[in-house]
């Protein structure tokens, strides 16, 4: 599995990290709605990616309610770039 990142290889995580490249940070509900997943599924992926340092979470406020904000870390961006490059090489038949 050279160059493919085991933490990003699941399509749901690739989708989550790719979506986060469109923003500096996003609120939990915004990400959940964009990915069309449940709170628990999203929390699980966020926890796993936070554990390996690919994203960070912090508490904030939106519309007067406390909520969670999520963003990619520089390490996460690098990991995503490498993983996407490996996927493209796979698609192009370069191995």
């Amino acid at each position: 599995m050279a160059d493919l990142d085991e933490h990003v290889v699941a399509p749901a995580r690739l989708k989550l990290m790719t979506t986060l490249t469109a923003v500096s940070e996003a609120e939990f509900a915004t990400v959940r709605d964009a990915l069309e997943v449940s709170d628990s599924v999203l929390s699980k992926h966020l926890g796993a990616l936070e554990e390996v340092g690919y994203l960070r979470r912090h508490k904030g406020v939106r519309r007067g309610r406390r909520t969670t904000w999520v963003s990619l870390t520089p390490r996460g961006r690098r990991a995503l770039r490498t993983h996407v490059a490996a996927l493209r090489a796979l698609i192009d038949g370069i191995d």
Partner: protein, 183 residues
């Protein structure tokens, strides 16, 4: 999803990438500006240019007031943007609101310089004209950035670094200070 990762086939990789990019594009398309956003930005920039041109002669407080009103409107509109969309977008804050996009910064500098010259020559109708032109160009630059962002969100999402913004703010405040002191 939580099963042991396997090496995807070319077809699976292609589908996963396409799906991820489509989701990102959908999120970027959903991001909207708050009501009256561009109008308020254009008006406050025009007012700030006019205040600078009018105030540099005898009323330096006008220059400071123009900047303060801009800062207040920018802060409120950024908070509304964040509340409306549930995202923070560094590129939007710096390129659209703070005008660091090339078109916005060049047009603003030209309009401000021309308005100050017109004010010093007592041609107030030209001050008004350049102020409106500066505000309109700033707005058009912002709208253009939004279109470019939606076309390639990953390339435009992030704004300048905090260090760069701090440096630009210090330079801008220094410039204003020199203008006010020299008036």
């Amino acid at each position: 999803m939580e099963s042991a990762p396997h090496r995807p086939t070319a077809e699976e990789a292609s589908a996963a990438l396409a799906d991820a990019e489509a989701t990102r594009a959908t999120l970027a398309d959903r991001i909207a500006t708050p009501s009256w956003f561009f109008v308020s930005l254009g008006v406050v920039i025009a007012a700030q240019i006019a205040a600078a041109a009018a105030g540099l002669g005898d009323e330096p407080a006008l220059v400071v007031a123009g900047l303060a009103v801009f800062a207040a409107v920018a802060g409120v509109q950024l908070a509304r943007f964040r509340r409306l969309n549930g995202v923070r977008l560094g590129g939007f804050a710096s390129r659209v609101v703070l005008g660091s996009a090339t078109a916005a910064s060049v047009s603003y500098t030209v309009a401000l310089g021309a308005a100050i010259w017109a004010g010093s020559a007592g041609r107030w109708w030209l001050v008004a004209l350049w102020s409106v032109a500066g505000g309109a160009a700033y707005t058009l630059s912002g709208r253009r950035w939004m279109r470019r962002y939606r076309g390639d969100p990953a390339a435009h999402a992030r704004g300048e670094s905090l260090a760069w913004l701090a440096l630009a703010a210090v330079a801008a405040l220094g410039g204003v200070g020199l203008l006010v002191l020299g008036a």
